[in-house]
Amino acid sequence: MRRSTKLCFLLLMLMAMALPHHLSAQKDLQISKVFDLYGKKKGVTMVELSGEMLGDYNLSLFKSIVINNDPTAGDFIRKCLDKDQEGAKKVKQVISSGNLSTIILQLPHKGRLNRLILYNATSSGYKLTLVYLESHDDVDDILNLLLKKK
């Protein structure tokens, strides 16, 4: 390998290291396709909050998508979740009438970020809710904070 090629390679590696982790953290997941494909469709509400917009919630990124009356989206999300489950820890899973109703996945760390995927489908499958979040806090703390009952 030529010296200039090695230098270019080294430079690219350093640039990749310089990228903020949260820029690429979600993009390596299959569920990012859900946000990309369905986020701007009719009957869909997608919300993204990050940084100071989350106040003192100790989250660095929160993304949610609520899809109404789109059975194909449900199938697509479940396929994405199947792939994202690889290497992830299943915190909670509920299967209702043979269909995935709820799942909480703790993804492998990305840098110092803890990442979680939460998915819920109503029993009729009419409404699908998918949430992706990143935090520097422990997963237990995040879940205790987010999922505590009202």
Partner: protein, 159 residues
């Protein structure tokens, strides 16, 4: 025959003695310099040519050592410059692409960037999730980004 060394005249006998001392490794730095100057003179007798060649070789070797030092210093400076430029570049790129806080929503394909509107749209989605109308009203009163997140996630709490 007389030989010159540093404005001093020395005899061939003295020169021979210096040479002998040199080859035995007992010469001081000053004596070596004196011997070097003797052997440098242009009308040097033939029998000292071999000694001059040897002294010249060693002198040349010493001189060659100096640029070597420069050669190690210059790449160090060059690499230090490259490293400094790289580090500077990394910080520059990082500061340029650092993601700014996001607050937006897409509702039916329409992008909303106004913070209040985004929060209102998020609130609307919460109201669609929530089954109890009172719960929605209560959330609307305490409308904050944290509440939006919490309420959206309430669906996972098992309630």
């Amino acid at each position: 025959m007389q030989l010159f060394s540093n404005h001093k005249i020395i005899s061939t006998k003295e020169a021979d003695a210096l040479l002998e001392k040199y080859y035995e490794g007992f010469t001081s730095a000053e004596e070596e310099r004196q011997l070097y100057l003797v052997l440098l003179q242009p009308d040097l007798p033939e029998r000292y040519q071999a000694d001059r060649a040897m002294m010249g070789y060693f002198a040349g070797e010493k001189q060659a050592g100096k640029p070597k030092k420069n050669r190690t210093i210059i790449p160090m400076i060059r690499w230090a410059s490259v490293a400094a430029a790289l580090i500077g570049g990394i910080f520059l790129v990082r500061s340029l692409i650092e993601e700014k806080p996001q607050c937006y929503a897409y509702v039916d394909g329409v992008k909303v960037t106004d913070v209040a509107t985004v929060k209102a749209e998020a609130m609307q989605s919460i109201s669609e999730i929530a089954s109890d109308p009172d719960e929605v009203a209560q959330a609307a009163k305490q409308f904050k980004a944290e509440e939006i997140v919490k309420d959206q996630l309430s669906v996972f709490s098992g309630n």
